[in-house]
């Protein structure tokens, strides 16, 4: 289980998210909606533990352990993984090396080739990671690495951005595999927290709970499909108005 309590996060001294509460139980996938600049990515980066994202208040606990003070790699080894929206190019480090690093103990060539085949990246293993990759290739490569890493909590930052219709089907399949969607609900352990700007990914990956983030806080919690319908119809402006209205009532 992931439990976030009263979490505030600052970047370079400026508080970006304020007093967030969020709980994801084992086997659940939640979705974060919100306009640009709402603080969605900041929340994900803070959960992953990147030093630039400073927790100024509150706590993050994972599998019953307070991880607020843990480093990125400690969190990764504890079972948190992240699909980056714009991962860096690391020259000289091959895609194969990254997959091997994710398969603790290196993995054998067959395991790596199998993963690459599933992500349709067989020709990419000898290429420098992310170097000259298209949008869809980046997403598939991120998911391939996560499939090797097998995290219990997967954080995904806009898995559908820059991806064409053919790719999105495959990306949906890989995400479902990662989130154990083929497993009976009661046996599922893996959790997901997905940022989606457009909501397209919901056509491929089922999620239980949705949040709308505005101005660094969670304005709304509910059924993600219902939320998406409202957002599509009325836009985020309506969400913000609604949120501000409720805020004023308090």
């Amino acid at each position: 289980m992931l439990k976030i309590r009263d979490l505030s996060v600052a970047v370079e001294g400026k508080e970006i998210i304020h007093d967030i509460n969020l709980t994801i139980k084992n086997g659940e996938t939640h979705v974060l909606f919100g306009p640009n600049g709402a603080g969605k990515s900041t929340l994900l980066m803070a959960i992953m533990g990147f030093p630039k994202y400073e927790v100024t208040k509150g706590s993050i606990s994972f599998k019953g352990r307070d991880i607020t003070g843990l480093t990125v790699d400690e969190r990764a080894r504890l079972g948190i993984g992240m699909s980056f929206q714009r991962p860096p190019v690391v020259r000289g480090v091959r895609t194969r090396d990254m997959v091997a690093a994710c398969l603790k103990g290196g993995g054998d060539d067959n395991a790596i080739a199998g993963l690459a085949k599933r992500a349709d990246l067989g020709d990419f293993l000898e290429r420098d990671i992310n170097y000259g990759f298209s949008g869809g290739e980046i997403k598939r490569s991120e998911l391939m690495q996560l499939l090797a890493q097998k995290p219990e909590l997967t954080l995904m930052d806009e898995p559908e951005s820059g991806v064409d219709l053919v790719n999105i089907v495959l990306i949906g399949e890989l995400m479902n595999e990662l989130l154990e969607k083929d497993c009976p609900i009661k046996d599922r352990k893996c959790m997901g927290l997905i940022i989606t700007h457009t909501g397209h990914i919901l056509d491929y990956v089922n999620a239980r709970t949705g949040y709308v983030m505005c101005n660094g806080t969670i304005g709304c919690v509910g059924d993600p499909h219902e939320m998406l319908a409202t957002i599509r119809e009325k836009g985020y402006d309506e969400c913000i108005k609604c949120y501000l209205g409720r805020f004023a009532d308090r």
Binding site: M48, F50, P51, T71, V72, D73, A76, R77, G81, M82, F84, P87, P88, V90, R91, G92, V93, R94, D97, M98, A101, C102, K104, D128, Q145, Q149
Partner: protein, 411 residues
């Protein structure tokens, strides 16, 4: 020109240049070193060389206990050749002094790719020249395994004067792995080395040089290469260990049509070392090509990484890539890529980057579960990973081993 007349002319030119400072690099007072030809015993059986020397030579890529994967071997200690042998037909390996006696025509190659009065170091070699290697592949002959050569500095305060000549006759293929090493970890020494390469029509030479000096050694190699039509010169250079100062700027002239020259250099240095290493390629042949790639890492020392490409013929193509990584709190990397074109229709380009490891890259790898140290090591390994096109698998494997050893020096 007669051999005697040529020799007198070179001596005269050298004498006129004994005080001529080099264009680049810290000036070295030659008076602080000894020019001597004190000899070391010749040995047919390489395995009988001192254990310590063998280990140091092995670190520089020279294998003496098992030479089954070498087509020839040349070992020089200080200024004395202590061994030379060949194990494949079509290849000649011998001390250059012996080759001079054997072949009158060798004068045509002597001080031809490098000039004798380039600076006081080339002059010192001519005036105090004791030996060097002569390696030649005969026309159409292809070596299966590399020829190995080691220049080993054993005595304190000594100048090692070396003059090498490498000739790849038409259509031949020659692979050379040369290691330079030093006996002591603290004694001073000066290595001066002239290497003249002649790559004839359609010939191919790969030259892999591994330097393993000590923090008190000064090193001034002077290399010149002439590549004829359809010839290929491929140089790999690795500096793994500390050195006091090292300056070299080999010059390749691609004189024939479609001649190709490639340089890959991996420079890894720490505090107290000062390197000024470049590669220069002049593209004079129509359609000739070059690629110069250098990777420099400092953990405290100073590195000047130069590259120069000049295009003087139609359809030439050259690319220069110079990347530097500063891993310590101190240290300097100065990348100086230069391009010169003298006519339209040529294609020369360069890219240079100097910096520290990007934190974003480290964190990306850490998010996959690698510790900060593991992530840094992976990035450094990737940085040093220079894929060398055209290198035989055996040499590629040895190059990989040498790069891995230099990684350890860094980490």
């Amino acid at each position: 020109m007669s051999k005697k007349k040529a020799s007198t002319d070179y001596k005269e030119k050298a004498k006129a240049a004994v005080n001529k400072a080099a264009a680049l690099g810290e000036d070295i007072d030659l008076g602080k070193f000894i020019n001597t030809d004190d000899s070391h015993p010749y040995s047919d059986d390489l395995s009988r060389l001192p254990k310590k020397a063998k280990k140091q030579m092995l670190e520089a890529g020279v294998m003496l206990d098992d030479t089954s994967q070498r087509s020839g071997t040349y070992i020089q200690m200080d200024n004395t050749p202590v061994h030379s042998s060949v194990s494949q037909d079509g290849v000649e390996v011998m001390p250059v002094s012996q080759a001079m006696e054997k072949y009158d025509w060798l004068t045509d190659y002597w001080w031809n790719a490098v000039t004798v009065d380039q600076d006081k170091y080339t002059a010192n070699i001519e005036l105090n020249q004791y030996n060097g290697y002569f390696i030649r592949s005969l026309p159409g002959q292809k070596t299966l395994f590399p020829v190995q050569a080691c220049l080993y500095l054993a005595k304190d305060k000594l100048v090692q004067n070396v003059h090498n000549v490498i000739i790849a006759e038409e259509g031949s293929e020659l692979h050379i792995i040369t290691g330079c090493a030093v006996a002591s970890e603290e004694e001073t020494g000066l290595h001066l080395g002239v290497s003249e390469f002649y790559i004839k029509k359609g010939a191919k030479v790969t030259f892999t040089m591994i330097h393993s000096w000590n923090p008190e050694t000064d090193v001034r190699p002077r290399s010149g290469v002439i590549v004829e039509e359809d010839g290929l010169f491929l140089s790999n250079y690795i500096l793994m260990k500390p050195v006091h100062s090292l300056q070299m700027n080999p010059l390749v002239k691609c004189v024939g049509a479609n001649a190709t020259a490639r340089f890959n250099s991996v420079l890894v240095t720490g505090k107290g070392s000062s390197l000024d290493v470049g590669s220069r390629v002049i593209l004079d042949g129509k359609g000739s090509r070059t690629e110069i790639i250098s990777r420099a890492i400092t953990t405290g020392g100073n590195i000047i990484a130069r590259g120069y490409i000049e295009g003087n013929a139609p359809d030439v193509k050259g690319h220069l890539e110079c990347r530097g990584l500063i891993l310590g709190e101190t240290g300097l990397i100065h990348a100086i890529p230069e391009l010169k074109g003298t006519l339209a229709g040529i294609d020369l380009s360069h890219e240079a980057a100097v910096g520290k490891i990007a934190e974003e890259e480290v964190e990306y790898l850490m998010a996959r579960g690698l510790t900060r140290d593991e992530a840094t090591a992976t990035i450094v390994r990737g940085f040093l990973n220079v894929d060398v096109e055209g290198l035989p698998p055996l040499l590629a494997e040895e190059l990989k081993r040498a790069v891995e050893a230099s990684e350890k020096e860094v980490m």
